[in-house]
C-alpha cells in the first residue's frame, strides 16, 4: 500500500468534512446523491477489505440484506432508533461474517467467491420462503412514527462513511495489514511466519461484514421499504466490486473515488439515457471490463502513475502491473 502523500491526506480530510457539512445544506438532489455515495463508500470499502486479504466476495449483497432486515425488524419490534438498530445491524453483519469465515475455513479464490454467491442467493430465497419472519415478498415497511428527518439520515450516512474509511485506515496501519497482504499473496508462507491466517481471516471478514451490513441498514431506513428482492439484489454485489475496481483496488482512496465516480456515472446515464433501457447496467459492465483490461489499478493508479511521471521526469513510467505473482 503506497504511503499517502500529505496532499492526499489533506484532500481526504477536506472531503470528509465537506461530506458531513453538506448534510446541513438543503439541496435535495445533491443530498440524495451524496447519501448514495456514502452508503456505497461503506460497501466498497468493506469489499476492498476482503479483497485485500485475497477474498473475492461475490455475495456482498448478503451482508447488505442481513443488515437491512436486522435494522427494520428490530426498529419495528422494539421502537428502535436509527443508531440503536445500526448497532444491531453491525452485530448481525459481524456475526454472519464470522460464520462465513469459520465455515469456509481455508477456501480461497474461486471457491470462496462461489460460496459467497451461494450465500447471497440462499438468503434471498430463505427470506422469501419465511414470510412469518420477514414478511416475505409482500414487503416490510418501517413504522411511520419511527422515521427520522431527512437531515438525520444524511448525517448518519456521512458520518458512517467517514468512519468506515477511518476503520480501513486503522487496519492498514495495524498488524492486520501484513496478515492480509500475506494471505493475499501466499498463505503457506504466511503460516510459516507465524501469522494465523484462519483467525485473521475471521477478523477481517467480520469487520467487513459489519460494515456492509451497516450500509444496508442505513439504506433501509432511508428507503423505508424492504422485500427480499430489494435487500439481496445482485445490483449491490456488482456495485460493491465496481467502485473499488474503478477507483483503485487495494488502496484506501480507491473505494471512495470509485463510489463518487459510480454514482456520477449512474446518474449521468439515467439523465441522458433514461429512456433507453439497459444502458446504465451495460455501462457498469463496460467499466468493469475496461478497468480490468486496461486500468487494473483504477483511477487511483492512473493518478499515481502521472504523479510518478512528474516526480521522476525523464525516466520512463513503470509498466502497470497486471498481476502480483498470481497463481493459475
Amino acid at each position: 500500500m503506497a504511503r499517502q502523500s500529505n496532499f492526499m491526506v489533506a484532500l481526504g480530510v477536506l472531503s470528509a468534512l465537506g461530506l458531513v457539512a453538506s448534510t446541513f445544506w438543503d439541496a435535495p438532489q445533491i443530498n440524495n446523491w451524496l447519501f448514495r455515495a456514502s452508503t456505497l463508500i461503506m460497501l466498497a470499502t468493506s469489499w476492498n477489505l476482503m479483497a485485500n486479504a485475497g477474498l473475492v466476495s461475490l455475495g456482498h449483497s448478503a451482508f447488505w440484506g442481513v443488515g437491512s432486515y436486522a435494522a427494520i425488524m428490530s426498529a419495528n419490534a422494539w421502537s428502535g432508533s436509527i443508531l440503536g438498530t445500526l448497532v444491531v445491524a453491525l452485530l448481525a453483519g459481524a456475526l454472519m461474517g464470522l460464520i462465513v469465515a469459520a465455515v469456509t475455513g481455508g477456501l480461497k479464490g474461486i471457491f470462496f467467491a462461489i460460496s459467497t454467491l451461494a450465500l447471497s442467493e440462499g438468503l434471498r430465497i430463505s427470506a422469501l420462503m419465511l414470510p412469518d419472519v420477514t414478511s416475505g415478498a409482500v414487503g416490510l415497511f418501517l413504522r411511520q412514527d419511527l422515521r427520522p428527518s431527512q437531515q438525520t439520515l444524511y448525517l448518519v450516512a456521512a458520518l458512517a462513511a467517514v468512519a468506515s474509511v477511518g476503520v480501513a485506515i486503522l487496519i492498514s496501519c495495524s498488524k492486520l495489514q501484513f496478515a492480509s497482504r500475506a494471505m493475499r499473496d501466499n498463505e503457506a508462507a504466511a503460516q510459516m511466519l507465524g501469522i494465523a491466517p484462519r483467525r485473521q481471516r475471521m477478523i477481517i471478514v467480520a469487520i467487513s461484514g459489519a460494515m456492509a451490513s451497516a450500509a444496508g441498514a442505513i439504506n433501509a431506513w432511508y428507503g423505508g421499504y424492504l422485500d427480499p428482492e430489494v435487500a439481496f439484489t445482485l445490483h449491490n454485489t456488482i456495485l460493491a466490486q465496481i467502485a473499488p475496481i474503478l477507483g483503485g483496488i487495494h488502496t484506501l482512496a480507491g473505494p471512495v473515488i470509485g463510489s463518487f465516480a459510480i454514482i456520477a456515472l449512474s446518474e449521468g446515464t439515467r439523465i441522458w439515457f433514461g429512456n433507453m433501457e439497459g444502458v446504465s447496467q451495460m455501462t457498469f459492465g463496460l467499466v468493469l471490463v475496461v478497468c480490468i483490461l486496461f486500468l487494473p489499478r483504477g483511477i487511483e493508479g492512473v493518478m499515481h502513475r502521472r504523479k510518478k511521471q512528474q516526480a521522476t521526469a525523464g525516466t520512463p513510467a513503470p509498466a502497470l502491473a497486471t498481476g502480483r505473482g498470481g497463481k493459475s
Partner: protein
C-alpha cells in the same frame, strides 16, 4: 495533477448544483408519471405511459389555462430506482400530482418517498392490500384499480354463475408480492362461494420446471386451476400445462391472460384460459354524455387508439387514460394548480361511463378513502378471441372446457 483531481470534484459539484436548481416555468402544470418503462413489468409501464400521453393530447394539451407537462420517468421495475425517481419528483421537481407506477412491488417501494410531501397520487395499478394498509387512509392517495379481494370476489362470482356447484379448485401461486397477496383472498372467496380447495402449490419466480407441482395437482383431480402468477411464470405454467395435457377443464389466470405478450408466447396453449381484468377491447361500453370527447363509447375509443398506435389497447392503456383525464377534470374544476383544491375536486367527481365504468372515488371496507374502479370483467380465450363471462349482461357467452 493536483488541479486535475480537485477540478474533477469541483466539476461534479458544479454540475450537481446546476441540476439542483430546476427552472420552474410558471405556466405549466407538472404531473409526474413514474412508470416501469423497462425491466420485468415493461408491458404495464409502456401502456401506462401511452395512456397518459393520449389523455393529454385528447384533452387539448392545456388545463386551467396552463400547459400540461407530463414528467415521464423510468423506474426500471426496480425498487431502488423507484425510490430515486420519487425523491427526484417530490423534492427536486416538486410536483403536486403523480400518476403511477403500476406493479405492486414498485408501488410499495414508492410509499415512503411519497410521504415526504404527499402530492396527489393516483395509482392505476397494484392490487396489494399492503398498499391499502400503508397508504389507504391518506386523503391524497387515490386508488384507481381493484384490490386483490375485489378480484377474487368477482372470480368466485363468475365461476359460480357459469358452473355447477361443488367444483374443486387447485391454486398455484408465485412466491412474490403478487402471489402472496392474492392467495389468501382467492381461498377465502372461492370457499365462500361453495368451491372446495383441494390443492395449493407455491412456485418460485422464474422456476424452470413446474412439472412436479402439476403432477401433484393432477392427483387431486381438480376441475379448476387458478394460477396466481405473472410474466415469465405465467408463460411457463401455461406451456407445461398444455404439454402434459393436464386434465383440468377450467384454467384461470389472473395476471397474464389479457396480455398480448403472453398470448404470443404460448400460442395454441392459450385456448380455454380464463382471464380477469379491468378492461378489454370489445366490451362495448357506452360513453359519457357530459364529456363525449374525453370519454367516448369504448368502440370509438378503441378504433381511434388502433389508428394511432397500430395495436389494440390493453387494460393499462385504458386505466391510465382514464386516471389522467379525471385528474385534468379535477384541476380544471379547481381552477388551477392548487393541490388541496384539486384533491377536493377529485374526491367529488362523479363521471359515469368512462372506459373502466363509473368513476366515483369512495371508501372501501379495507380502509382506503379514495377507491374507484373496483369492478373486473372475467373472460375466456376461445379460438383466439375474448368471450365475456362476467358480469352478466347481453354480451356474455358460455364457458367452455379447455379439455377436449
Amino acid at each position: 495533477m493536483k488541479l486535475d483531481y480537485r477540478s474533477y470534484i469541483l466539476a461534479c459539484l458544479a454540475a450537481a448544483a446546476l441540476s439542483a436548481s430546476s427552472a420552474v416555468a410558471q405556466d405549466t402544470i407538472k404531473i409526474g408519471v413514474p412508470m416501469e418503462l423497462s425491466g420485468r413489468f415493461v408491458a404495464y409501464g409502456a401502456s401506462g405511459k401511452r395512456g397518459a400521453e393520449l389523455a393529454a393530447e385528447v384533452y387539448g394539451g392545456k388545463v386551467a389555462g396552463k400547459k400540461i407537462e407530463l414528467l415521464h420517468r423510468d423506474i426500471q421495475s426496480e425498487s431502488q430506482a423507484t425510490i430515486s425517481v420519487f425523491n427526484e419528483l417530490v423534492n427536486k421537481e416538486k410536483v403536486n400530482y403523480i400518476i403511477g407506477p403500476i406493479a405492486s412491488p414498485t408501488v410499495a417501494a414508492a410509499i415512503p418517498a411519497w410521504r415526504q410531501t404527499k402530492p396527489l397520487w393516483i395509482v392505476p395499478g397494484s392490487s396489494s392490500t399492503k398498499l391499502e394498509e400503508e397508504a389507504g387512509s391518506e386523503p391524497e392517495f387515490f386508488h384507481a384499480f381493484p384490490y386483490a379481494y375485489h378480484y377474487h370476489q368477482s372470480v368466485a362470482a363468475a365461476l359460480k354463475s357459469q358452473l355447477p356447484t361443488g367444483q374443486k379448485v387447485s391454486l398455484v401461486f408465485s412466491d412474490d408480492n403478487y402471489g402472496r397477496t392474492h392467495q389468501p383472498y382467492a381461498k377465502k372467496y372461492l370457499t365462500e362461494a361453495g368451491f372446495e380447495i383441494v390443492a395449493e402449490e407455491i412456485v418460485r419466480t422464474n422456476a424452470p420446471d413446474m412439472n412436479p407441482l402439476l403432477t401433484k395437482i393432477a392427483r387431486s383431480k381438480p376441475n379448476i386451476l387458478l394460477g396466481l402468477v405473472q410474466t415469465t411464470d405465467a408463460v411457463t405454467l401455461t406451456k407445461q400445462i398444455y404439454t402434459r395435457k393436464l386434465p383440468v377443464p377450467y384454467l384461470v389466470g389472473t395476471a397474464a391472460t389479457q396480455l398480448d405478450e403472453w398470448q404470443k408466447a404460448v400460442g395454441p396453449a392459450q385456448e380455454g384460459w380464463i382471464g380477469v381484468t379491468t378492461y378489454l377491447p370489445g366490451l362495448k361500453r357506452p360513453g359519457n354524455r357530459d364529456y363525449p370527447k374525453l370519454f367516448p363509447p369504448s368502440d370509438e375509443w378503441e378504433a381511434a387508439f388502433i389508428k394511432k398506435y397500430g395495436q389494440e389497447p390493453d387494460f393499462e392503456d385504458a386505466g391510465c387514460y382514464v386516471s389522467a383525464m379525471l385528474l385534468f377534470l379535477a384541476i380544471e374544476k379547481a381552477g388551477g394548480d392548487d393541490k388541496a383544491k384539486v384533491v377536493a375536486e377529485l374526491q367529488k367527481l362523479d363521471v359515469k361511463n368512462t372506459l373502466l365504468g363509473d368513476a366515483k372515488f369512495g371508501p372501501t371496507p379495507g380502509g382506503t378513502k379514495n377507491q374507484a374502479f373496483s369492478d373486473v370483467v372475467v373472460f375466456q380465450r376461445q379460438s383466439e378471441k375474448n368471450v365475456m363471462l362476467f358480469p352478466p349482461g347481453p354480451t356474455v357467452g358460455k364457458i367452455k372446457s379447455a379439455v377436449q
